[in-house]
Symmetry: C2
Subunit: 323 residues, 2 copies
């Protein structure tokens, strides 16, 4: 949650002038996104009736070589009616520009707020929206490998090292061997499409029980659709610490998904292990971030153990949960 | 620049329901304000046509006992046509509420962007708007002592101590004696009103050369109007480091002010020393903040020397600048 770069009003006005969106009216740096800076921009609009956008500046973690994939995907999904913001192209047709040496994109603003205590009805809608994205993305012409698959995540934990993992939590080093076992057993032949792969409540905007926006596709990649459902299940169906599973939410999410795209038998069978793979992913990234972040930095570190607890849960109860 | 508190969508929706502003549509934490957290809130509006607000949560530094003064002042100035946001009162008529144990206020959203390289025309408009505020505030019924007058600022520097000041910059301890001298010589009988006392470009929203908003009145207090003009002069007329004075900006600011409220002879004569008092104020607060902020915190510390340089400038050139 930060704005890493100061953009002056004059720079912003000049940037806005490169698009057919009218003149700059207002700009507020917003506290969203961890790998980029974002501004909520208001302009007079191409027709003078006002328009709003999110201006994103890519700061780190994102390879700008991937932007044609990420931004093209937004346009593709949006054109197919998914609740996904489209990219605004500049007067020369480009989906991104360079400002102050950094790459920026102007993206459609979507209304809605992210639920922090989702209802089953909301989870049902999110499941359905995720399936809609999977179906709509099937004919997207670009691909992007999942750079955070189970093997990569096992390697991240290995690079952290047992000693440093133990400093975070004495129970964390046990995840190392579990990660290797998991990587060796995850199925690789499930139906694939482009997946969001990070659909936490933060990345969903809702109005009541309707999904008004799915955002932050910067982990999107080509992978198994059921894995994306498993990620979303792990992200939505527990309290923050992962100690308490909410069966009504988990069930509604899967029902919502299947109302749009029924899972096949192989996918259903794979969900317990895919959910463990999803947990591994966040254990690995949180452990890495934890060790990269000084303890006294004014940044809240996310505890990897929150996802070790989910992992344990899926390990013990996966068969029943996804039956 | 931060949002210190996480507010859930459900908490925000419940808060919004206490006001006659329709339903919550969108909420974004914005990276503004150093003593509070702010959200840009969109609602469906009392009449269903949409409305926007700034939700401010008072985190620290602000004594909530002062809120009737600060928020009442906004309403007073706004009602008199100053470009100042009004406070939205809840359905029970209250200007502020308590949410999650913290005091919050819903404030009118004003369009505009803060200039980072102001033009003389913009400085002229800002001077005029400041004078307008001084005149409009004259009959505001509440008062608030200036807790950051020259004596208080000299004390802040003394509390920092020579050794620690020298750690920031070897030239900084010299400000101590200068501060005592200044505090003894500042005039105390100049025409007074309520002053903003922190009108940096960050706190002014503009559309082209028009002031569309003056914000962040949380240092407002009862004091000499010419001192406020001097603060604004020091805040607007230099490059960031204070090494380079822009005479066209400084002149336009004073001309703009006098186009609405001409200064009397005593005020004109006092401007050189008032401007030094303004510099002292920011030298003191920046030195204090610097020493309070760990060097490795992910927060940019503002260099007090930027205002020592301005102080030197006014000391040497004040008579000509304000002639």
């Amino acid at each position: 949650m930060a704005v890493y770069t100061h953009l002056g009003a004059e720079q912003l006005a000049e940037l806005v002038a490169a698009y057919d969106v009218g003149e700059l009216v207002s700009a507020k740096g917003i506290a969203e996104g961890i790998s980029n800076s974002n501004w909520l921009i208001e302009t007079s609009g191409a027709d003078g009736t006002g328009a709003r956008f999110i201006l994103t500046m890519y700061e780190r973690r994102i390879d700008t070589g991937d932007l044609p994939f990420f931004l093209g995907l937004l346009d593709h999904l949006s054109a197919k009616g998914c609740p996904v913001p489209s990219t605004i192209h500049d007067c020369a047709g480009s989906a991104f520009r360079v400002l102050d040496g950094k790459t920026v994109a102007l993206i459609e603003f979507l209304p809605g707020v992210s639920p922090t205590r989702p209802t089953a009805q909301q989870a049902q809608a999110v499941g359905a929206a995720l399936a809609q994205v999977h179906l709509a993305a099937a004919d997207f012409p670009l691909t992007r490998a999942n750079t955070l698959d189970a093997e990569a995540n096992a390697r991240i934990l290995e690079d952290c090292g047992e000693d440093r993992l133990a400093q975070i939590d004495p129970a964390l080093p046990a995840a190392l061997q579990r990660a290797r076992d998991l990587a060796a057993h995850l199925p690789s032949d499930l139906p694939a499409s482009i997946i969001h792969s990070d659909l936490f409540p933060d990345n969903v905007l809702m109005r009541g029980s309707t999904v008004s926006g799915m955002i932050d596709f910067y982990f999107a990649c080509s992978d198994a659709m059921a894995y994306d459902l498993a990620v979303t299940h792990a992200a939505w169906s527990f309290d923050k610490s992962g100690s308490c599973y909410d069966a009504a939410i988990g069930r509604a999410l899967i029902d919502g998904y299947q109302s749009v795209r029924p899972l096949d038998a192989a996918e259903r069978n794979a969900l317990p292990i895919l959910a463990q793979g999803a947990c591994l992913r966040f254990v690995a990234s949180r452990a890495e971030d934890w060790l990269d972040t000084p303890g006294d930095a004014h940044v809240t570190r996310k505890d990897p153990m929150d996802f070790v607890r989910r992992w344990d849960f899926y390990d013990e109860n996966g068969q029943q949960v996804f039956a």
